[in-house]
Amino acid sequence: MLLWVTLALGYNFLFGICGQVSFSHFAFYGIGAYSVVILLFQLHVPLPLAILLGVAICVVVALVVAIPSARLEGFYLALATLALAQLFVVLLNEGGEVTGGTGGIASYRLPAIFGMQLRGPWYTAVIVALLLATYFILRKLDHSWFGRACRAVRDNPEAAAAMGIDVARTKVVAFTLTSALAGIAGMVYAFVDNTVNPPIFGVENAFLLLFMVIVGGSGRHAGAAIGAVLLFLLPFWLAPLVGHHHVLVFGVLMLAAILLQPKGLIGIWDRFSR
């Protein structure tokens, strides 16, 4: 759940603050997870180097997707990332020895750091640290010149350009940055269950992430966090009622949010607390 919140925060920055729709957030999560596992256990790269290389891979892939699509108006980024996300899952399934095919890679173990094995509650501490770090980075960015530039690009690209903001570059940087954050979260994920397999990184979960941010309230960190927690817990509450069909409820919630309360749950909260 903490990882979902981390992802939702990153996605919120891209979608809610910078106004870009992307479906590849989970693909980058997966690229992070797979690359760190493959680097560590098939190429036997030391851990710090593997993490750096994993981030580098995410950044390169993100740039390759973002640079051409940011030049174009409209929803080309959404389409390019949709294609990327699908392509990534195909590659994972067909990767043979390297990616372990449909079964993925399992039964590996986080190498010891300074002679310590991080496990159980200690590993949870790592995830909490990641969540907090992501939150502080994004908050800092949001309150900086760059965050304001992102909001300007979202609300009115022409005006932003007239104010001297490089619209395309802002988009590319926001996309690359949030994708790299997703990749880092993916690396942490890789050692939660010590297994990585393709279905987790598909388009389905990317939709879910979008729903979380919209239902919670896009453009607000608290909103993204609320949405992520709520949509993560809902399946458990709903299981006795609708079984595995909680996605239906998500769809209805998301449609209701767009039609009735575009600011999401956080918007309702604002109204009552005033």
């Binding site: 929803f75 390019a80 392509l87 979008l210 069909h245 769809g251």
Partner: protein, 281 residues
């Protein structure tokens, strides 16, 4: 040579399906600018309609097909009423209805997956199996000819065009914008449904069939360009030929073939985002 010809016909048939889905996108994008990813789910709904009417109740094919298409018109019209019009009237950005339609996509799929068991459902062929490809090609060309005539020759088609070019000006000229929008959604749903119904005897109705169709149809649209009706068909055919010939002749494993349309989509988005055919001035 025999092999080559057979492959060409089957590629043309699946290209026609992609073309129909692309046309469904185009019918909605042209007047409204809204990309509706739910077209794949609409095709899926029609395929299930085909299963219920033709397999379960064994209605004659033309009657079953007619009912399914009429039902799809209603579905498209309702979708526009519920998920698009309130947002347009509120003056929300274009992004809002697109996201709302993503919600519709998920809702549609889940309703179908609740209503039917998860295994594939067979839909009968209208004729003998070996003629089905020709049936697909024939119907598709008829639909495209109809769409072309509609846009080029009729006053209604011209009003669609006018809305596509400039909404405000079109409204000032006395064109009923909301009627054009709801018609475009109804027609889009019917065309997507036709595509789903035609493809369903080959691949069987399954609740996960929508998203791949939606992506392939969209790729076809990007290749052909949103400017012209013929572009959708051309894009679909090109895509299907590229796909099937890579699978047949290129030395790559079958699973990678799924990646071909996606690679195409990426390449076209980068190199030629307006598509092969430019809009007529």
């Amino acid at each position: 040579m025999q092999d080559f010809l057979e492959l060409a016909v089957s590629a043309a048939a699946s290209g026609c399906i992609y073309g129909l889905i692309a046309l469904a996108y185009l019918l909605m994008i042209r007047p409204t600018g809204i990309i509706n990813f739910a077209v794949g789910e609409w095709a899926m709904v029609a395929a299930f309609g085909g299963y219920v009417l033709l397999t379960k109740y064994e209605l004659p094919y033309p009657l079953g097909m007619g009912i399914v298409l009429a039902f799809m018109l209603v579905v498209g019209w309702l979708t526009e009423r519920v998920a698009v019009r309130p947002l347009v009237e509120k003056g929300a950005t274009l992004l809002a209805p697109i996201l709302a339609l993503l919600g519709v996509l998920v809702i549609t799929r889940e309703i179908i997956s609740i209503s039917f068991p998860p295994d594939p459902h067979t839909v009968p062929f209208p004729f003998e199996i070996q003629y089905h490809k020709y049936f697909i090609i024939g119907v598709t060309f008829a639909v495209f000819a109809g769409a072309w005539l509609f846009f080029e020759k009729t006053l209604w088609g011209k009003s669609f065009e006018a809305v596509a070019v400039n909404r405000r000006a079109a409204a000032l000229m006395g064109i009923n914008l909301s009627r054009v929008t709801s018609l475009s959604f109804a027609a889009g749903a019917a065309v997507a449904g036709l595509g789903g119904l035609l493809v369903s005897p080959n691949i069987s109705a399954h609740y996960l069939m929508g998203v791949p169709l939606a992506i392939q149809g969209f790729t076809a649209l990007v290749i052909g360009g949103v400017g012209r009706v013929e572009g959708a068909l051309l894009g679909g055919l090109l895509l299907a030929f590229a796909e099937q010939f890579t699978v047949r002749y290129a030395p790559i494993p079958g699973g990678f073939a799924q990646g071909v349309p996606l690679l195409f989509l990426m390449i076209f988005l980068v190199l030629r985002p307006t598509g092969l055919l430019r809009a007529r001035a």
